[in-house]
């Protein structure tokens, strides 16, 4: 068993860390574009009686 598996990590988590590390080591011109893919946005729209109430501004999550 690998040390990271022993510590309770799975391959998805391993892969995430490896991908992030690779992005950090890119030449500047490629890095900005690559790091954009690390962020994801969620837009939440609550509905009541069949109608949307309000739309919250997108919140960033890592």
């Amino acid at each position: 068993m690998t040390y990271w598996r022993a510590a309770g990590l799975n391959y998805i988590q391993y892969s995430n860390i490896a991908a992030r590390t690779l992005r950090r080591a890119l030449k500047t011109e490629f890095r900005a574009d690559a790091e954009k893919r690390e962020e994801s946005f969620i837009r939440i729209t609550p509905w009541k009686d069949g109608k949307p109430i309000k739309t919250s501004s997108p919140s960033s999550s890592a």
């Binding site: 892969s15 995430n16 490896a18 991908a19 590390t21 690779l22 080591a25 030449k27 490629f30 890095r31």
Partner: protein, 204 residues
Amino acid sequence: MASLMKSSRMAARLVTSATRVARRGYADQMDFTLASGNKVFYTNQNVKQVSSRMAARLVTSATRLARRGYADQMDFTLASGNKVFYTNQNVKQVDVPSFSGAFGILPNHVPTLAILKPGVITVYETEGVSQKIFVSSGTITVNDDSSVQIIAEEAHPVDSLDASAARDVLSKAQSELSSASSETAKAEAQIAVEVAEALVAAAS
């Protein structure tokens, strides 16, 4: 996995020697060699039959391939979250780093599944033309029909790597490792150190 690879390599050798014999027209003869790290069991001895599930499958797939005429062809696909590098392109050879060791894939390779280790994939497109691509992680699939798929989370040509940025990442990861308190944080930092070491080696 390592012992599986070893046995499959041996099985591949068996297939090769069987094919050669068949070509010579010695249809009823088989030069059989069985060797391991500790002992040589047979050396070019004529035997009736050798059975192992892996060998049987190999023979079947080799026959099928030969019939289709794909013997020297390999449909290679390499894609990552950021880019598609190859789509069913015929290439000569692909060298990949995996958790079960680095290995080269030629046309007619044994069907294999493996997990990518952070490192450099070398694709030999045609005679003298090769491309080096750094992959973070992902999977390798070698199919029965000689097609190969590599799916990576992040992949970039080695030329896109910055040597000094890689060294920065490495030293940062090392300091994170030494200051990590929990078991998980330590493992996460250790992964980053490993990847960064591969990056430094590839970029320099």
